[in-house]
Amino acid sequence: MNRRSILPLRLEGVCFGARGRTIIDRVSVELDSGPSTIILGANGAGKSVLMRICHGLLAPTAGTVRWSASQRAGGARRQAMVFQRPVMLRRSALANVGYALAFAGVPTGEREPLALEALESVGLAHLAQRPARVLSGGEQQRLALARAWALHPEVLFLDEPTASLDPGATREIEAVIRAFDAAGTKIVMATHNLGQARRIGDEVLFLHQGRLAERTPVERFFSHPASAEAEAFIRGELPWTLGNGGSR
């Protein structure tokens, strides 16, 4: 199983426009393994669109997205994404993880043990047979993480994973993400929660109106941001900021 890593991921001149509006404006960046990357920006800055372009759900209208090796090795996807609202099938929690494994080409006999292992890693093993749709919001999001984790992806994209959750559930999710990070998975997470960014991130990619305004290690970003837009964002002067911790 000597596979070349799919990282670094290289974006060059990536643009995305829809209905005449420019949503992503000539973003060039290289994401490598190691530091967990937080994508910050106000609502409408383009965080979600950029994540989806990286993950492959959207095609850029200009520019290129290049992984360093084939994303699909024997059918398995080597990068996965967790969305703000988890979408579960009408079956048990275990079966939902098994479903993802099936489409990754894992043979039938191996699916259940792998799925159980994934559930254990997020602390949901005791709910394995529960119908996924009756789980709480926080439990479903943990299940989504387990489902993404089950394939041991090299990169995990997370699009505002705790935006719909209460503080308790948020803490649980952040703990799981930190554990995955510690295990070596590259974390790329979009959030508008500045406190969360500081807790989880190592570096910040700051988007402003579709442009990459700056890329800075996390602590320096919050104390000495390089760009005026970032400073304004942090001071909470941008009127549409919703995060709970705009000031330092």
Binding site: L57, V87, L89, R90, Y99, P131, R147
Partner: protein, 231 residues
């Protein structure tokens, strides 16, 4: 008229063997047709919901329009196909229950397919991003959605069953309303009405409605119990 109803109740009370045969055949024909139409129509509707191709909208409009296919027209077309003078005459299917199943399947297929298409398309809006993220291709996604929304699909199937058990035009023409062979509830009602035996016709009508009501009630209870369990 009220005396007709009174007579009708008496007739139902004195349940007889030929009535049992007619009821059994009605159920066999309509249930078979709905099963067949579901086997074809559910995947068809699901595929139409997720696929994108030129002319898709026109196809959806046509499918929706076919829901209103007049049963007597379907009966006529199937008759011409199955007649000895027609292309499929050698199979000798005319005036048999099988011909009735064929006609009702054709009648019910657009209903089930069109309603399934709508239900799956609504679900696709919710599931699409997540399923694509997991690397699920469209056709597999269609099947996954069919199973996931199975309780909502029950409504489509019940609509088909309602149509099949209520119609008389198609089964009359292709079945011939032969006593003991292809006589079903609706054709029996038509016959007794034409003989002026209104109490018997009414009695049969009430039995038919009661059966369809019972089937619907059972299906709905099942659906609600399952929804509570699976969320």
């Amino acid at each position: 008229m009220s005396s007709a109803f009174a007579e009708a109740f008496l007739l139902i009370g004195s349940f007889d063997a030929s009535l049992a045969g007619i009821i059994a055949l009605s159920l066999k024909v309509s249930l078979s047709a709905v099963l067949l139409a579901s086997a074809i129509g559910l995947p068809l509707g699901a595929a139409l919901a997720v696929a994108r191709f030129p002319g898709r909208q026109a196809l959806i409009v046509a499918l929706n329009a076919l829901m209103g296919l007049p049963p007597v027209v379907v009966g006529l077309v199937v008759y011409l196909l199955l007649s000895r003078a027609g292309p499929l005459g050698e199979f000798g299917l005319l005036f048999t229950p099988r011909a009735m199943v064929i006609a009702q399947t054709l009648l019910v297929l657009p209903i089930i397919a069109a309603l399934a298409r709508q239900a799956v398309e609504d679900a696709w809006r919710e599931y699409e991003e997540q399923l694509r993220s997991l690397g699920v291709a469209e056709f597999d996604a269609a099947l996954t959605l069919l199973w996931d929304i199975r309780f909502s699909l029950l409504t489509a199937v019940l609509a088909g069953l309602g149509r099949a058990s209520a119609e008389v035009g198609a089964v009359m023409i292709v079945g011939g309303n032969i006593d003991g062979v292809t006589r079903v509830m609706t054709t029996a009602i038509a016959l007794e009405t034409s003989k002026g035996d209104l109490p018997l016709a009414l009695a049969l009508g009430m039995v038919l409605i009661a059966i369809v009501l019972a089937l619907n009630a059972a299906a709905t209870l099942l659906k609600e119990a399952a929804e509570r369990r699976y969320g």
